[in-house]
């Protein structure tokens, strides 16, 4: 009796798993928050998402303890010159597929901190950005809506 795998059947199974996995497992993404040159406003509003008022986890998101465990790098604040390397290393430590979400007007384009010698500009001056959630700061609902956009695109 042969136990050799039927390549064709295995391939079909893998394809089905892929689709089912995307639909089920793909609905869960983990987020590593990075507060760059953030005044703390965006960080405070992001913190609201985790609790009972917005239930981030019920929407399929979890908070990652390290970039390596994350699907999404969520960056708030301006990109300061001293943070370029740390932020680039954080991104490099993430497995594909991965996304970068810039939240807040500072992360979008540097906002009112442009012109300072310590600041490069928005997050895209250091790493490619997939999605921007504007606002100063964006309310938790807007950040959640942005994250859900990525969830929707991922299924």
């Amino acid at each position: 009796m042969s136990y050799a795998l039927d390549d064709q059947a295995a391939g079909a199974l893998a394809a089905r798993l892929d689709v089912a996995g995307q639909a089920r497992l793909g609905r869960s993404l983990s987020v590593f928050p990075v507060h760059a040159g953030d005044c703390g406003g965006c960080a405070l509003e992001f913190a609201m998402l985790r609790g009972v008022a917005y239930t981030l986890s019920q929407h399929g998101f979890s908070i990652a303890e390290s970039p390596a465990a994350a699907d999404i790098l969520l960056v708030s604040g301006v990109m300061t010159r001293s943070l370029v390397l740390p932020v680039q290393l954080a991104l490099a430590g993430m497995a594909q597929p991965r996304w970068v979400v810039a939240i807040g007007d500072c992360a979008r384009d540097g906002g009112m901190f442009n012109g300072s010698a310590a600041v490069l500009g928005g997050v895209s001056t250091a790493i490619p950005v997939d999605l921007v959630v504007p606002g100063c700061p964006p309310p938790p609902g807007a950040i959640l809506a942005g994250l859900r956009t990525i969830l929707a695109a991922n299924v």
Partner: protein, 488 residues
Amino acid sequence: MSAEMMIRAGEAAACRPVPRHLLTPEAWRAMSSALAAQPELSFVALWADPVQVHALFWCGGPLLASVLVEAGLYAALSAARPGAALFERMVADLWGHQAADARDLRPWLDHGTWPLLRPLAERPVPNTGAPDIPEMLPAPENPSSGGAAHDVLGFGPLPPGLPGPAHWRAAVEGNRVRQLEGRLGYGHRGVLGLMRGKSPAGAARLAARIDGAATVAHATAFARAVEAAQQTPVPPRALALRGVLLAIERVAVGLHDIHATAEAFGLDRPALQQAREGLLAACGAALGHRLMMDLVRPGGVQAEPGAEALGVLDAALAAVPGEPAPRSAWWLSQQSERWPRLGGLAVADALALAPAGVVGRAAGRPDPAHPAAEVLAAGDLAARMRLRRAALASDVATARAGLAAMPEGPVLVALSHEAGEGLGWAEGPQGMVWHWVRLANGTVAASFAADPAWLHLPAFEAAATGASRDELPMVAASFGLHLAGIDL
């Protein structure tokens, strides 16, 4: 002569509402030496301009002292006031003035990545060097291992669970922290440089973003400094509104800090977060901004909430959990709230560093801004939580009383173009926030903002000694450390 008398003997430069006393380098050095003999003279902040160094003390009221920098040097204050050490490193990084006989000469905010050195000096120097590797304190000797140094752990500059961006170094013995040090500068935005040359209204928007967790307090302290400099009286309704907004901010951030501390333990406190969300949503609906940014501006307040809007705020404040009724769900959640006695700040450290607000009061240091407020001696996480709870109740009462007695009238007056210097302060969630401003030609010529985190950071480092590595996030959360206020 006491250090205080030496300062008051200095020539009074025009600054309102208190003069700034200009000391000769000799008098400043003598004052610095006399500080040790007058511990009740609290050190608040140290900063500079291109030619002078300024210090702010508290002695029954604010007391300002300045000294002319000679050959790039001024006498350090950190020998007698350890809280001055971070300020001295910041002054060296931003203005290039070196503190002679300072405790610590290492860079603080400058990592060698800026195109200019000493960006706030008269003539900044182009930076031709390579970025620095942050120089951290050497690990202390471990007495139990025959003189070898302790093991050292590093976290950050993007540390999960700890305040950031910052690089944290912990010298550990087993799992116990023996020395903790934070290095900032990663998030430094150059706020002071950006404020220069801006109109007071434009600079106020930057002041409101120094620390998002104290945006009303920073905006109010800055506005008061400008109004003091120009001797602009603000209408009563604007003053009353500011008082309410400040109290609401203290409640909202207090709820965040207690919730974040519980969260760091893996505890859930939904009632606290629901109350915070209710308050922020009410601010959004009644005032147009959830965190109340840009509402306070020099000359008054940029918001005209009607009676209905004030009612929305009052209803959200009334929903903040206060004294729990027996057997209520809130009472039950309180029963499980037994805060551990970790992260103790020694009373001696609290008196030496003079941290403002709850952090100081929990460790035996009365808050000069609230001489009658409760003071505890334990200095640990449980003491901080108990005082934060009490502050919550009194701030809710302050805000609601302010809403009930809101006077009618205008909320904003026009500013003059008068030149001058002013000092302003306002009570933020972690304690008093101070702004100093010098106006010329209708714009900001120089300014400084002193956030309570300047003194809370060294207090946290001292309190972390003895905690385990896993307890650091809980201790940090209980300190309410929002580092943006220092990483200007």
